[in-house]
């Protein structure tokens, strides 16, 4: 139930962001710093989420099959593969590396 609470709150704040753009007079939001912070934060959060999902096990850093998934995804992206193919490349690589004994 606790997770439901934070989940629904996240839904509410997400909608609030979207709506604020439509309701707040444009000149108040035209500050280029606002869109710049929104942009750099998007990059920073996604970079951080990538690293956490690759290296973290709770509070411990670990090098395991997920590193292979990261490399495979980077190669797929460099070859301009569609998103779904990139995700599959990550999954298949991690699964294969585990079969080969690298956790």
């Amino acid at each position: 139930m606790n997770l439901w609470f934070w989940l629904l709150l996240a839904c509410a704040t997400a909608y609030a962001w979207k709506l604020v753009g439509y309701l707040v007079p444009a000149r108040l939001m035209e500050n280029p710093r606002m869109s710049r912070v929104a942009g750099t934060m998007t990059i920073g959060l996604l970079a951080s989420l990538t690293i956490v999902n690759t290296l973290a096990n709770g509070q411990v850093l670990a090098a395991d099959a997920r590193l292979g998934a990261l490399a495979a995804a980077a190669i797929a992206l460099a070859l301009r593969a569609p998103f779904l193919v990139v995700v599959l490349a990550g999954a298949v690589t991690a699964a294969l590396l585990r079969i080969l004994g690298w956790n």
């Binding site: 934070w6 439509y22 990059i43 951080s48 998103f83 991690a94």
Partner: protein
């Protein structure tokens, strides 16, 4: 039939299919992160913003708290407020349409709309992409969630590797030029340093603060990082955006989120802004 003759509507439909399909990966990853079917569907139906949804389940999967997951998702949703402002100036929706438009204001619907020059086409593109993605994204989330719960041990299928790939795939289109790469590297390092010393989920918020400080004090493109996950006009942009027609650059109130046409010069090639010393032209 007349609607299907509109280039913006056709673009909206194709982007809906491309984006909707990766709802499968969200659905599957969400249930293997520990959310149940209805929690997964609530995120797609109510939150409806790919990056924020992946962030929420990414924090939960890493053992983070609900409040950390909510915070990461909320911070990632900030850019939708910027899109809302652009679209409000562009489409001027009134009454209930304003509230409906807000819910389908995401990277892709914004990109589809602002990539058009004719106001009627901008409107059609926004609604076609917005509604199309909403329907397909939720449909494929359900498919992924059902498939994911049937899989058993997620690690055996490499689903943790799929999550890594998904986040890199969301980050990748935003790494245009040296500066966004530098921001990504700095935030990645901040995360690695933070993981052993703060509770799970919090390193992501540390990185968000670092990124916000960089954004506040540096002077790069004002729309950096505001690129769609799937760019509806990707191929055409490489050739200078000829879909805009003769001299039809929209230079006023709304910029294309991927930076093409957002500059007053309208060239989208960077370098025209004297305050911009970071060389966005390298991105092309």
């Amino acid at each position: 039939m007349t609607l299907l003759a509109s280039p913006a509507v056709r673009m909206g439909i194709s982007i809906s299919i491309a984006t909707g399909l990766y709802g499968v990966s969200f659905g599957a990853l969400s249930v293997t992160s520990g959310l149940n079917f209805w929690q997964t569907m609530a995120l797609s139906l109510l939150l409806f913003s790919g990056g924020s949804q992946f962030a929420f389940i990414g924090v939960v999967a890493g053992g983070g708290s609900g409040i950390a997951a909510m915070s990461a998702a909320t911070l990632l949703g900030m850019r939708n407020g910027i899109y809302g402002m652009q679209l409000n100036a562009l489409l001027r929706p009134t009454g209930w349409r304003k509230y409906a438009a807000a819910q389908v204001t995401i990277d892709e619907s914004t990109a589809t709309s602002t990539g058009q020059t004719d106001p009627a086409e901008q409107r059609r593109g926004f609604w076609a992409a917005g509604i199309g993605i909403y329907v397909l994204w939720n449909l494929f989330t359900a498919v992924g969630a059902l498939a994911g719960s049937a899989l058993g041990d997620p690690k055996q299928w490499g689903l943790d590797g799929a999550a890594v790939a998904a986040f890199l795939g969301l980050l990748w289109p935003r790494l245009k030029g040296r500066e966004p790469v530098a921001i990504a590297v700095v935030c990645a390092l901040a995360t690695v340093v933070a993981v052993p010393v703060v509770p799970a989920g919090v390193p992501i918020l540390v990185a968000a603060v670092v990124a916000a400080v960089i954004g506040w004090f540096s002077h790069g493109r004002s729309d950096e990082g505001l690129e769609p996950d799937v760019d509806p006009y990707r191929e055409r942009h490489r050739h200078g955006g000829h879909h805009r027609g003769s001299g039809g650059q929209h230079s006023g109130h709304a910029g294309h989120p991927s930076g093409h046409g957002a500059h007053p010069s309208g060239s989208g090639q960077g370098g025209a802004d004297p305050a911009n010393g970071t060389g966005t032209g390298a991105a092309e």
